[in-house]
Symmetry: C2
Subunit: 151 residues, 2 copies
């Protein structure tokens, strides 16, 4: 009986530790650390380093272009994207909610020109997956806050 009560208590403790509010803080820190790595990959125009931050079957859903899925497609996407980037990117997390091995993040980005002006700014939603103990981008979507050219 004592063993059963202990098991039950242990189960409830485990459940408590898995509640979204309890775990989201730690996950947010891990996601923000991964975002610092993404900024580093972007700023050094290192597409392979960026792709290493995604799951193997990740999808990018870029504005004004089709989605791309999988490491090879992402490598081509980021090679082209980073080659054309005018300057560094800054990512600012505004919301993280974690549920087990899945989390979603809402945030804002700013892309600067080489001389520090704002080239583009916007927002993003990323679905993250804990993959081999590491939080990786799994679905990555963003769009500009600025009017489209010609509008």
């Amino acid at each position: 009986m004592r063993a059963v009560v202990f098991l039950l208590s242990a189960s409830l403790l485990t459940l408590a530790s898995l509640s979204p509010s309890a775990q989201s803080g730690d996950v947010r820190a891990a996601i923000e650390a991964a975002n610092r790595k993404f900024e580093g990959a972007w700023n050094s125009k290192n597409a392979a380093a960026a792709v290493a931050l995604y799951t193997a079957n990740a999808t990018v859903l870029p504005p004004n272009g089709p989605s791309a899925t999988g490491s090879q497609a992402l490598l081509e996407f980021w090679k082209a994207g980073l080659a054309g980037a005018p300057g560094p990117v800054t990512l600012t997390t505004t919301e993280v909610e974690a549920h087990g091995d899945t989390a979603h993040e809402v945030g804002a980005y700013v892309i600067s020109t080489a001389d520090g002006k704002v080239a583009d700014k916007g927002k993003y939603i990323v679905i993250w997956k804990r993959d081999g103990g590491q939080w990786k981008l799994h679905r990555d979507m963003w769009s500009s806050d600025l009017p489209a050219a010609g509008m």
Copy 2:
């Protein structure tokens, strides 16, 4: 003792029924039903009916414009958006993952002209929340697959 074992078994059954794979099918059906209502609201240019499908503190993250949060801001956003819509929208769900009262959906949209041509097509990510027993849009982001005007 029998009561404790029963309670423990009931807890484990509850846990099993809450696993992502077990619950995502039902949630997907509920989300697809809500999407049919969204299409109906869009097609009748009924902004209030569209906003009723969102949580009270929902955010839309539209392309080429700032995000908007809360029922009043969403009502203004959809009044303007639906007034300018060229024709009906079709939403096609490609992925739903549910974790408790939160789910994310990835899908594709097509906006047609009144005479049935494709005016725009793209993709979306929605974070859904179960709110008073009903699945509602909580974070709603989309972007076109088509090149931006002037690009």
